[in-house]
């Protein structure tokens, strides 16, 4: 309760400072709108459906790409962990490409796919994939061999060992890789949406971009706010419960 109160107080103070800065007219109101202007933009965009539509489009792109990234990344990670050949080839490639900021995929995607949904999807997949591959491989390699031996004596064989022993044992690593992949995918999608207007859908990034074009700072800040909230929600709704479960089961300390 006390923590909640302190957190609320912190944001209230932040809000008041912003409002005070606006009232003091230190900066032009074009550059710094008041919190109320931002709120009223949000309200308007919420009422006329702009916000919901943009959020839906962005989330659809993000989830589709993220899902494909996971579906490709997990097996690739298992392959690289299991066979040296894959480790030396795909593993090395994954390690290299993971260091590439995912924004860097945008120019390539545009040239390859044009201003299409495919380009968006490609960027998100590339953002997700390599983190998942590397985390899965690291996770599998860190499974204590004794688990496998114990399972073998109990009659567990190939596939059963992979699904019932190796994968669950690697879960903490895989989840942290999924989380990193999510963050990368989210960032790269925003970059792609800001750079590229495509006619098949106006996402949050595009709203942000047009806010800048129109010098509508209330829109820019409002959309940024929405993007932050989505990020927070994804963490609280999806990743936090999984992490809490892992901490409880494994007995690792919880921050």
């Amino acid at each position: 309760m006390k923590r909640l109160f302190l957190a609320a107080a912190f944001f209230a103070v932040l809000f008041l400072l912003w409002d005070a800065a606006f009232r003091a007219r230190i900066w032009s109101p074009v550059l710094l709108p008041s919190p109320w202007q931002v709120a009223s933009y949000l309200k308007g965009a919420a009422v006329d459906g702009t916000l919901a539509r943009a959020t839906l489009i962005t989330m659809r792109r993000l989830l589709a790409g993220y899902f494909i990234g996971l579906v490709l990344g997990l097996p690739l990670g298992l392959l690289t962990a299991r066979w040296k050949l894959f480790h030396d080839t795909i593993g090395t490639m994954a390690l290299g490409l993971q260091t590439l900021p995912s924004v860097c995929w945008v120019p390539l995607a545009l040239l390859w796919f044009g201003q299409t949904e495919a380009a968006m999807l490609f960027v998100v997949v590339m953002g997700t994939l390599w983190s998942v591959v590397i985390a899965t491989e690291t996770g599998v390699r860190n499974v204590p061999p004794i688990y496998r031996r114990a399972a073998l004596t109990m009659g567990s064989k190939r596939l059963h060992i992979w699904f019932k022993v190796i994968l669950p044992a690697a879960l903490p690593f895989i989840v942290s890789g999924m989380k990193q992949g999510w963050a990368f995918a989210w960032r790269s999608l925003m970059a792609a949406e800001i750079f590229v207007t495509i006619l098949t859908g106006f996402g949050l990034g595009q709203l942000l971009h047009y806010g800048r074009e129109l010098s509508a700072m209330d829109q820019v800040i409002a959309i940024m706010f929405v993007i932050v909230v989505i990020g927070l929600l994804a963490d609280k709704i999806f990743f936090s419960p999984i992490e809490r479960f892992l901490h409880r089961r494994w007995g690792t300390s919880q921050a």
């Binding site: 204590p144 004794i146 688990y147 031996r149 114990a150 399972a151 073998l152 004596t153 109990m154 009659g155 567990s156 059963h160 019932k164 022993v165 669950p168 044992a169 879960l171 409880r248 089961r249 494994w250 007995g251």
Partner: protein, 277 residues
């Protein structure tokens, strides 16, 4: 007609005491490649273990006793020689011969109950209820019924080894292979487990091969204690421990046996020291 008469496999049937295995280890050799060259871990080791016999393998660390255990389990293959369980050659691990390792090797992603169920889930022809009944039975046998929903990290070292024991017993193996299972525990917990293991052995009739470097432990548990010599690993001497059970680790008679074995172990150590000079 026969099919109709045959009883469905049930938990009670699963819990029946089954015949323990007879083991024959014939001329087993095994060497490893190490940094300093080839090490002969086992040199033509032969050993027979009778049904329901409790055999302890004692020796300094690195004498190949754990290797022999792994070969009996089927986790490692010998370079030459063979292991027969009830006359059939052992070629792969199997739930007829379950292993209890020095580390509990419990799966942290499963609860205590889930861990005991793991091996049972791999047994065909058991209903869900049967598996649960059997798992409950063994958790009670090791005195941990109250902890079936606990996570592994919440248990003490001794409790973990009890769960590990329950997990190894649950699929009803004919042989139990124990690789220094109590080495990492404190003395008090260990003494308790000596009592438990004797009781369980008595109740469940298993053939047990028990590896340890603790001579007293070996004298307390084994019908026979086999002394291993290192480099190359060989069975050097054999001691029959003919004390009545249950045995108390602190009894004077047991101490006498232990002293006898310790003396032989020390002689070996000196011989080894001379040999390497």
């Amino acid at each position: 007609m026969r099919r109709a008469v045959r009883r469905r496999s049930s938990a009670t049937e699963e819990l029946e005491v089954i015949a323990p295995s007879k083991l024959a280890i014939n001329n087993v050799s095994k060497s490893f490649q190490s940094a300093s060259g080839k090490v002969l871990a086992l040199d033509r080791v032969s050993l027979n273990v009778a049904e329901a016999e409790f055999v302890c393998l004692v020796g300094a660390s690195g004498c190949g006793k754990s290797t022999l255990l792994n070969i009996i389990a089927g986790l490692e293959k010998p370079d030459s020689g063979e292991v027969l369980a009830d006359g059939k050659p052992v070629t792969a691990p199997g739930r007829e011969r379950l292993v209890m390792f020095q580390e509990p090797a419990l799966f942290p992603w499963l609860t205590v109950f889930g861990n005991v169920l793991f091996g049972l889930n791999l047994k065909p022809n058991l209903s869900r209820k049967d598996r649960h009944d059997v798992a409950k039975y063994y958790l009670e046998l090791v005195g941990l019924s109250r902890f079936e929903h606990a996570n592994i990290h919440e248990l003490s070292g001794g409790m973990k080894q009890r769960v590990s024991l329950a997990r190894a017993l649950a699929p009803n193996p004919r042989v139990l292979l124990m690789d220094e299972p109590f080495a990492a525990l404190d003395a008090l917990t260990r003494e308790q487990l000596y009592g438990d293991i004797q009781e369980i052995w008595n109740a469940r009739r298993k053939t047990i091969v028990f590896v340890t470097h603790n001579v007293r432990e070996a004298a307390c548990l084994g019908d026979r204690v086999l002394l291993f010599s290192p480099h190359p690993g060989r069975i050097q001497e054999e001691f029959a421990v003919s004390l009545s059970r249950p045995r108390d680790i602190n009894s004077v008679d047991l101490a006498a046996h232990a002293t006898r074995i310790t003396k032989a172990l020390k002689r070996l150590g000196q011989a080894e020291a001379v040999a390497t000079k």
